[in-house]
């Protein structure tokens, strides 16, 4: 990192910070870098930037570094940071927003597994109204190129009556209503 003209940086990045505030319903400018969020974060050890650093980086205009970071994809939405923030910043919601922004900007280098997980999950919900876990896992494993992931649990799950021997998805009553929710949201481009 080279020299930084702070006044200029803060001014230049006003719009991105405003957009994050708007999306999350909190004011990240309130952050005074106490770092409680990072101290309590269970995923911090696997992150490239700590949560409090992410907030500061946003203010300093390092938007690209933030959206390309591992951090936003390690976050598990446990809400410990949000619970402990003395400045009432919903950091978990900020992470949620940053993930959406990263996808929108095409910064998905560290996001492959998370996106595959979310997509396969939501595909089953959109199709049948509920999670169809065997289908989800199959699609996830194909997408991530790891076909044997968790297969060691398949047989014990069956033996314990936790998953059917031949997994067949069942649509819920009103599955069409659920499909419609997905469709309308897609149409509105939200």
């Amino acid at each position: 990192m080279g020299e930084l003209d702070l006044t200029h940086a803060l001014e230049k990045n006003r719009s991105f910070v405003d957009a994050v505030n708007e999306a999350t319903g909190c004011d990240i400018r309130q952050c005074y870098q106490c770092a409680k969020c990072s101290g309590g974060c269970p995923g911090a050890y696997a992150m490239d930037y700590l949560p409090n650093q992410i907030i500061r980086m946003l203010m300093l205009g390092m938007v690209e570094d933030v959206l390309k970071s591992k951090t936003i994809w390690v976050c598990m939405s446990c809400n410990t940071c949000t619970t402990r923030c003395v400045r009432d910043i919903d950091i978990a919601a900020v992470m949620d927003d940053l993930r959406k922004e990263a996808i929108r900007h095409g910064y998905t280098e560290h996001a492959r597994n998370v996106i595959a997980c979310n997509n396969s999950f939501l595909w089953t919900v959109r199709t049948w109204g509920r999670l169809f876990d065997a289908g989800m896992l199959m699609m996830f494993n194909m997408d991530t190129g790891n076909p044997m992931k968790d297969m060691q649990f398949a047989l014990p799950m069956m033996m314990k009556g936790k998953s059917p021997i031949i997994p067949i998805p069942h649509a819920i009553k009103g599955a069409k209503e659920v499909k419609k929710i997905f469709k309308k949201i897609k149409q509105e481009g939200k």
Partner: protein, 292 residues
């Protein structure tokens, strides 16, 4: 007789079938009436809230709207913490931004009005009246059983959303239930530490590390078992315990029963009906301690 709409959630039909079995058995014995929400859909979980804000509200709102059609019901419970918070989020967000209600309802067949409120599942057992009733029904007290109560994140965090009275850092509702059963709830520091949730799929080493921390601290605290209240946490700690042990070269063999299974044991219900055989880590020492 307390009556609630019940949102089982996807995991209670499969991976967490013992949570479902024990909930049903215990409710029957305690005179709690559950009415399953007709035609319920998936709450969307974190997949929805990472993808689209409105989707993450519309999916659970459809369920709440369906619950409103059940006669005589004003509250709904979701035994899964990850589901619970999605319903609580609908109430919180709509409470904050009234215009969201119209936006959500434009996506639903039947409107969500907010008539049925989400109530924390733990709370229907840990409230003073029910706690007294449970105590009076204990026939096989869990004397000497040291239980590490594990709440997971999403029943208690963040408090302004989940609207649970319990302390997000040191919750006591499950501990109080365990005391009522005659067990010894342990003071331990990992009651609400994250299990890694869906990193079990996306970054397995993170999940394994977090589960190892939880198992290790529970063991060091002297726990005979960890009582769980969330199907996702339970699965990570129970089914994946073998992966944790392999990764770290340790042997825990720590049983992870759901708290409802322990209630059932203490009030004298059959262990088979409570789904103890469904657990991956053999709960034999738990059962032996209470002579079940």
């Amino acid at each position: 007789m307390p009556k609630y709409a019940l949102y089982p959630g996807c995991s209670l039909e499969g991976g967490a079938i013992e949570y479902s079995m024990s909930t049903e058995a215990v409710a029957h014995a305690l005179g709690i009436e559950f009415v399953e929400v007709p035609g319920w859909n998936c709450c969307g979980a974190s997949a929805a809230h990472m993808t689209d804000h409105l989707l993450s509200l519309a999916l659970p709102a459809r369920v709440l709207a369906k619950a409103e059609s059940i006669p005589g019901v004003t509250e709904m419970v979701a035994p899964c913490a990850a589901c619970h918070i999605r319903f609580a989020a609908v109430e919180y967000e709509v409470g904050k931004h009234q215009d969201l209600l119209g936006e959500i309802n434009s996506l639903l067949e039947a409107p969500y009005t907010g008539k049925v409120k989400i109530r924390p599942f733990l709370d229907i057992f840990s409230n003073p009246e029910m706690l007294a009733l449970i105590k009076s029904k204990v026939v096989k007290p869990l004397t000497g059983l040291k239980v590490a109560c594990y709440y997971g994140c999403l029943f208690v965090k963040p408090p302004k959303v989940v609207s649970f009275f319990d302390d997000p850092e040191n919750p006591m509702s499950m501990d109080n239930i365990m005391s009522a059963l005659g067990a010894e709830p342990l003071p331990w520091p990992y009651k609400t530490e994250c299990c890694g949730a869906s990193t079990a799929l996306t970054q397995e080493d993170v999940c394994t590390k977090l589960c190892n921390d939880i198992l290790r601290i529970a063991k060091d605290s002297g726990a005979d078992c960890i009582a769980a209240a969330c199907p996702m946490c339970q699965q990570n700690l129970d089914m994946r315990q073998v992966s944790v042990e392999k990764q770290y070269g340790l042997k825990y063999r720590m049983p992870i029963p759901f708290f409802t299974q322990l209630i059932g044991l203490a009030i004298g219900l059959d262990a088979g009906k409570l789904g103890f055989k469904k657990l991956f880590v053999d709960p034999v020492q738990v059962l032996q301690k209470v002579g079940a």
